[in-house]
Subunit: 414 residues, 2 copies
């Protein structure tokens, strides 16, 4: 039975609306999906759906850019509200679709596109419409959070944890989109667009993956009071405001609510000027959670359609994007060195030459295989990267390890 069949009576009782599945376009209409849908509703051409005057609302769950983009544009042009879970499409062509939906006056709803089952888009669009959102930090990719959790809690290597995620179906055979941050980057673009009311596209998002993170990084972070998490960050900074959007591994203070988000769960942490800190937590993926998000949007579109009420995204301007070079952050940086007299002085001089101040240093190991672990005070990304580049030039330095940005403690729980 579909979730819609299960919940049709509840929806009707609460809204007075009877939802019916009229047509479903699939690749193979003959395949038995074990659903309670009348087989005669299946067809193979989405164009038949978007042009059908009997159909009031179109749901798109194809994924990818085409044919999803053309079908949604046709549906909107035909005056039909649309519900989609297509993050790639929205992160690349959202402005076009939002604008067209606004012109026609129909809803374009996409709760399932970001953080799966978590009601996030509607609270951002509606509850927080009058909120000056300053920063959003999210764990929006369940695969990488699962991998990092396994590394932290069981001491698994990255390769072991990835392999386990693949065998559980959390990671694809080619895990690039997840582990290199492309999936999270698309979601970050959508979140930033909705939160700040200006278009941010996937290409605006700086991203780094988790594939170079080592068990040693995670263990060192833990000892210093941090969890390593793959985060998506969207901030409004400066005046006139610019939007900074990035996806990368980060050290999150252990008492921060995001640090406790384990396994394949997602969570989105919002800092607003009036509401303070909020966090939304839940399942980022999975069939029924995603179905729940889609059905919520479908009911919303139906209620709005019946009442004549509009959506509320509107025509958006393009955001001014701030470069990652301008980021101000604390940084964790590991440096493999030969432990000889004067090495720390040489290394410290490089930090100093770029104005990067060291908050703490630890040495692990001795002799030719020593490792220095630094945490800096807040500095600019470009200065940190220049430091890293110059450190490579020192004879005593064998290798530069990961740079991990440290999420500050500026909003501890009180």
């Amino acid at each position: 039975m579909t979730l819609l069949d299960e919940q049709r009576a509840v929806v009707a009782a609460r809204t007075g609306i009877q939802l019916q599945i009229t047509r479903v376009a699939v690749r193979s209409a003959a395949k038995d999906r074990g659903l309670s849908i009348d087989p005669s509703v299946f067809c193979t051409d989405g164009a038949d759906i978007v042009s059908d005057p009997e159909i009031d609302i179109v749901v798109e769950l194809i994924g990818g850019i085409e044919p999803a983009r053309s079908l949604l544009r046709a549906a909107i042009a035909a005056g039909k509200p649309v519900v989609t879970g297509n993050k790639e499409l929205l992160a690349n062509h959202g402005a076009e679709l939002f604008g067209e939906a606004d012109d026609v006056g129909v809803d374009l709803l996409f709760e399932a596109a970001v953080a799966g089952a978590i009601p996030l888009m509607r609270p951002l669009r509606e509850s927080l419409i009058a909120e000056p959102v300053q920063r959003i930090m999210g764990i929006v990719n369940g695969t990488t959070n699962y991998i990092l959790t396994q590394m932290a809690e069981r001491g698994a290597s990255y390769a072991e944890a990835l392999s386990e995620a693949q065998s559980l179906g959390y990671a694809e055979r080619d895990p690039t989109a997840d582990v290199e941050g492309f999936d999270a980057g698309a979601k970050a673009a959508i979140i930033a667009t909705v939160a700040f009311g200006e278009v941010v596209v996937a290409g605006d998002v700086y991203h780094e993956g988790i594939s170079r993170i080592t068990a040693h990084d995670i263990e060192t972070a833990r000892r210093l009071g941090y969890a390593v998490k793959a985060v998506a960050v969207a901030e409004s900074v400066g005046d006139p405001p610019e939007v900074a959007v990035r996806v990368h591994p980060a050290m999150v203070p252990m008492h921060h609510p995001l640090a406790g988000v384990r396994d394949s769960f997602n969570a989105v942490f919002i800092q607003g000027d009036a509401v303070g800190e909020l966090m939304f937590y839940g399942r980022g993926a999975g069939g029924r959670p995603t179905a729940g998000a889609v059905l919520g949007d479908l009911v919303d579109a139906a209620v709005n359609l019946a009442s004549g009420g509009p959506g509320r995204i509107g025509r958006l301007g393009r955001a001014r994007i701030r470069s990652i070079d301008e980021l101000r952050s604390e940084y964790y940086l590991g440096v493999e060195v030969a432990d000889r007299p004067g090495v720390l002085a040489s290394v410290a001089a490089v930090f100093g030459s770029h104005g990067v101040s060291i908050r703490s240093m630890e040495q692990h190991g001795l002799g030719e295989d020593a490792r220095l672990v630094f945490i800096t005070h807040e500095c600019r990304e470009r200065d940190l990267q220049a430091t890293r580049r110059d450190l490579r030039g020192l004879d005593e330095v064998h290798e530069i390890g990961n740079v991990i940005r440290v999420i500050g403690d500026e909003n501890p729980q009180q």
Copy 2:
């Protein structure tokens, strides 16, 4: 400057609506509030506001039953949407107000009444309208969460932590409403009403406070892998469904997202059949957080008013309430005994006579001041209470300690 003044331009840009404060009824119109509101808008009679044809939307932040109830009824009868943060009124007279708002076809919005700044009511009413919600567990009283956090993290006694909460302004001079669970009970009634679509009133909520919880209870719980939290629980149980609603201290597994909610923060954890586990976290109180919640509702009411779109609560039936006696739970129970041969056998026989099975037992101390700490397997509340009653009759038993319900591990993070 009011939050509305700060955000007026943003609201206008995103919705096309200009919000203006026309009148404000206060006890003393002459008092200087340091706000940017034209002094001439202040008046002292709320009746002047609800009857004014120039006023489109009424916001009530008086608190208590009267005159809030009469004013809101008059505003609704006059066709004005209303926004309120009045949990006491909604938990006792919500059905009447929801019904009248539904008859007239105006919004009755109350995001600020429960969990302050956290967008909870709208996601429950809209995003999860088609979701079979099974259980909601919330930390909805910041005062008690602050007290329990101080007891857990600093080893403070209940009296010390309460006194500190009072000096910080988190607790009232008479803390009864918070520490005995009345405040959380009213919020639980509202949450249950919205989540299950049936009226639950404050009087339906079973409640126990935290004032008897000791540092020893918290330390023992911690050693066993639990945090002690004051929770509000609303469940839909049985067939035909009944609603079980209760507020009490509970032992929450350390890895559960609610266990990490510290200090005066609030959080609401939702288990739904389709969406799985969700949690909403944020500030439960405070001037600006509450103002943010009210302003979000105000914009929503204005958008709906402009578009003719309705609210979505409707006329609700009365919920069938399940008694606390029927609760099935694991329980923590401490028993002060004289440590003599045979005492454990006597005590265990009492548990056995009521069919209560013991999952674990620890003895602390020796001789005349020994303490036995039990955790039971899942059993019925009435059997546990009968066990507790009979234990009091044993010669070897000096005193029965707290019964703390244990939140099961049935939904661990995966």
